[in-house]
Amino acid sequence: MSTQPNHRDPQFPERHYLNETYGIRSWLLTTDHKRIALLYLASVTFFFFVGGFFAMMIRLHLLTPSGYLLSADNYNRMFTMHGVTMVFFFLIPSIPAILGNFLIPLMVGAKDLAFPKINLLSWYIYIVGGAFTLYSMINGGLDTGWTFYTPFSTVYSNSAVAPAVVGVFITGFSSILTGLNFLVTVHTMRAPGMTWFRLPLFVWTHYATSIVMILGTPVIAITLALAAMERLFGLGFFNPAMGGDPILFQHLFWFYSHPAVYIMILPSMGVISELIPTFARKKLFGYHFVAAASLAIAVIGFLVWAHHMFLTGQSTYAALAFSFLTFLVAVPSAIKVFNWVATLFGGSISFDTPMLYAFGFLGLFLIGGLTGLFLGCLGVDIHIHDTYFVVAHFHYIMVGGAVMGYLGGLHFWWPKITGRMYPEWLARIAALILFVGFNLTFFPQFVLGYLGMPRRYHVYPPEFQVYNVMSTAGASILAVGYLLPMIYLTWAAFFGKVAGDNPWPATGLEWKTASPPPTENFPVTPEVTWEPYDFHDRPDLGLDVTHMPEVAPAHGDD
């Protein structure tokens, strides 16, 4: 464990949000953002393992070219339900609804989110939406692909499309309400002294994420509502046989679903922006640029959606415009990566588990982001569109990036959430297993994609087998990597070493209160007087500010 000179013998607080009240009712009717975060943690983890099960079935099936495990229809159901579960019920709510919910009020110095009841409502909406989707999976399954492309989904599919679509529609409102709550909280609930440019980047990225949530999600909601009406009552907007246009569905779908990728990755970037300064013990390089880059990603991210549709017969002019904007959105991501790397220079770096996840994130996000350039590039997209290259690319972003950030954040704040430390060495090994397993699973898929293996194939020509076997092998390692943290984090929540208020130590406001925090977060409303991530301005952390690698004159920019 790293140093904690000011807390030699950490004490577990007597009264905290976990033992304030007892009983099932006190959890199911709670309006405490911290408890709601834990409700989300339990349900999101459930969906993660449901989705993970589907993923394992897919990979096992693809071990042989003619796939003997599942029938064609069942394979199609597996990848569809994997996609739907992971995207709508794991990735989108994972960091915002768990870590964001828990931390944003703590970070801005508020007693709770602006609308605690709406926060609880959003969890119930999520559960109802999840119930509909699970119902469709059990009764008839879903075989449309997570993209629900029409007219296949509205006219031709023989599976339970309507309840699944309704489930996703309902869950959308959970996301809208979470985003609304965050936006309003950041605007009106900040503690005295917590100016906009003293907000941690975790809050900035969640602010950007919330913008995407409230502006994008309603569009997918109405789109899915129209698709459901089309399936149930024969409305014709997306049905070419009735004069409708299936491409319109794709426009509407991707108007949300592309920015939704930023709902997944931006919070993860926020986590990394917390981890790197903390474990490098150095103020984040270019704070203003990273904050602005977050907003730029959220805004430009809304202007690129039709790059999913370059080969639908879209107008060539529109394709050029969307491709150009796609390249533009790469720039703020690059800015972030360079600023994170620059933060390491002149720092005092320790390699605790969260930092390992941060490094893992850097590597995987870099590969994921850069392979996005191939897909955004019109000429190359002709060949690799809808192949395994795409599959590998978005898994590098959404699993490599988002999940690495999620797990890194979970480890980093686990002492704050539970008051106890996780087993450090086991955690480091798990992080390593994940990194290796992940690359072994998904890197071969880039090659498969360039060789021309299309997505969503339940059988494939034998020349693609080698890479598929590698991928399946990697997936088995990955499965172990995901099970391990679940087991030891649960163990640590009850039996881990008592962590103390600020074990790392870190500079955020959330570390100024007890671990686990009291229900009202701060006994006295805190007043913020320091700049974000500024270790030199924080004598209370007990660090030796006179010992620096090299003392260079500070620039007055920040």
Binding site: H187, I211, L215, V219, L248, H251, L252, F255, F302, L303, A306, G313, Q314, S315, T316, Y317, A318, A321
Partner: protein, 118 residues
């Protein structure tokens, strides 16, 4: 509008009355305009009047004129994103050369082809 930042600003019933009468009058104008042939400008006029009406409702009935700048920003963001959705999608359709009225010509051609052969 910093002098209007008072959240409890009260608009007088007189103002409301003027606004509602204007709205009714604009409704009449929009119907009358629809009965004149303005070519492609019919829709422009209709939307311009509707936007004027909506603006009056937002500014006075909804007190946006007297709200904090932040609220005004929220409204503008909403309109802006709606514009992105509509204009960028339509830009695809209007810049296509072959979109309008294409209906399965390929099937007809295939039938023709076989007839020609046979």
């Amino acid at each position: 509008m910093s002098e209007h930042d008072d959240a409890n600003h009260i608009v007088s019933p007189r103002t409301y009355l003027v606004i509602i009468l204007t709205l009714m009058a604009l409704t009449g104008i929009t119907v009358m305009a629809a009965f004149r042939d303005l070519g492609r400008f019919n829709i422009v006029v209709a939307l311009a009047i509707a936007t004027l009406k909506a603006t009056l409702v937002v500014l006075y009935f909804m007190h946006a004129k007297f709200s904090p700048r932040r609220t005004q920003l929220v409204i503008i963001a909403g309109i802006f994103w709606l514009a992105i959705l509509l204009f960028m999608t339509m830009s695809d359709y209007v810049s296509r050369i072959d979109y309008r009225g294409v209906r399965f010509p390929i099937m007809h051609r295939m039938v023709e082809g076989s007839e020609r052969r046979g």
